[in-house]
Symmetry: C2
Subunit: 272 residues, 2 copies
Amino acid sequence: MSAQELPNMARQIRGGSMLTARYSAASNRLLDGLPPRKRDRFLAECTLVDLALGNILYERGDLIRHVYFPVDSSVSMLAVIDRDRTALEVGMVGSEGMCGHALVLGSDVTPLRALVQGAGTSWRMKAPTFRRQLENVPALHHLLWRYVGVLFGQLAQAAACTRFHVVEQRLARWLLMTQDRSRADSFEVTQEFLAFMLGIRRVSVTIAAGSLQSRRLIRYRRGRIVILNRGRLEAAACSCYRTDLQIYQDGLGARSKFQRALLARATKEGTP
Amino acid sequence: MSAQELPNMARQIRGGSMLTARYSAASNRLLDGLPPRKRDRFLAECTLVDLALGNILYERGDLIRHVYFPVDSSVSMLAVIDRDRTALEVGMVGSEGMCGHALVLGSDVTPLRALVQGAGTSWRMKAPTFRRQLENVPALHHLLWRYVGVLFGQLAQAAACTRFHVVEQRLARWLLMTQDRSRADSFEVTQEFLAFMLGIRRVSVTIAAGSLQSRRLIRYRRGRIVILNRGRLEAAACSCYRTDLQIYQDGLGARSKFQRALLARATKEGTP
DNA sequence: CGCGCTATGTGCGTTGTCGGACAGACGACC
DNA sequence: GGTCGTCTGTCCGACAACGCACATAGCGCG
């Protein structure tokens, strides 16, 4: 866990609308589900940190020391089996979510590895502080319960998706999910890394990515992928992409306009 | 949801040690994690019902009307994709758990189908009553949080297992898990049904089950499977069986001697 | 007893992915 | 401008599981 710390904005510019303005440029959409004043009080206890590609926030079975609320970074949750050699991504967390959900359920060890797959910034809070916040701010606890419920549903979806859908569809879905979280049309990722996330061989990624590229849905070279045609990429992905958005909407939708917009677009543009 | 109701024991024989004695024959091991008096008060609000093979307790997206605490029945949690045609078992609930976990997280719809895969009895409580109990009995809420955390970990494990392990190992694991929950050496299940749960073809089950039978680990005929040699069956299963027990232990272990005993036995007898 | 339903067993070619090995190609850095 | 490490592309055979079709066998029921 080698996250470099950035200046603690929250402590430096306490309270008031200026604070809110600054946050909007560094916001976590899940926390935006809180009433603004509660959210600001919560963020005042956080530190803004930089997450680098490949950082491991938690190893399976670790004690949780911090919780994370990504801003423009994204984190993969990996199920690890066979003595840590093999892993499979079972969930993705970006600015719509949080890492360290076990604390929300009163446990302090995590069953999953958390790996930074998209570099960027994230709010971070110490576990004891977080626990106190949960106790003192029922609205926070309720919000995060629901988020854990969403994660649960998305995890189940990922399990079935991995079983039934072919590599190319899954790759397309992964790219869409990552784009949603990174807030950019292109991002750094090698085929090797992708293969690891999807639990497949690098060669399989080469083939699937090559197919998507030849159809001009994406373009890539040496560790960088560009999304060229999002609409058609959504059509190339399995329905699980849209289902994931739906699950989020069902669980937290009343609180997040962002996901609703994504969903509306996906439903409009995509061809099933 | 055609669960036939049995006489409501709880209301008929209220309070006292006699009640406890009767419950021990019809107990849910998860609820046994509560202090006895709290557990008894909780069960007094429950009805003992009969769950028949194939009953669907919840369909995905359904409003949850009841929660279930199985006694000797077991229930599969299924992730449903592609418009309800395809499904995959992502979790199993028996007397060590509960169905309707979404309520614990403050949601009232369930993201998974719940299907009775082992006939038997179960405690049942109406959702509004359950919600009231959660509010009024913090110990209950804490216990069930932890259980949801356990389910979460087991779900992730199942996802990776399904991806990486071969059919025969997964079948062995399924049989062990079912035996743990049914409290019997043999149970009713067809290959067709098994195939559905594991997300594979019936023919693949025929082959895998045939292999296990020829090695005298199990015996079966026309919808009934008998476990002949548990120790060797554990050796034939993937490590995920033991990991599942470990996850339960880590999350709820201090409260459940039962799982600890199973785990000890698995670790002793099994050959990795 | 035999009918019919359902559960189980077998055959075939096909497909998706695997594992390993190696060749080319980009780009950072000296 | 050349070198080297890393990323990407292509080949091979192998195999688990697939889909489909059809054959056999247990068991309840009239």
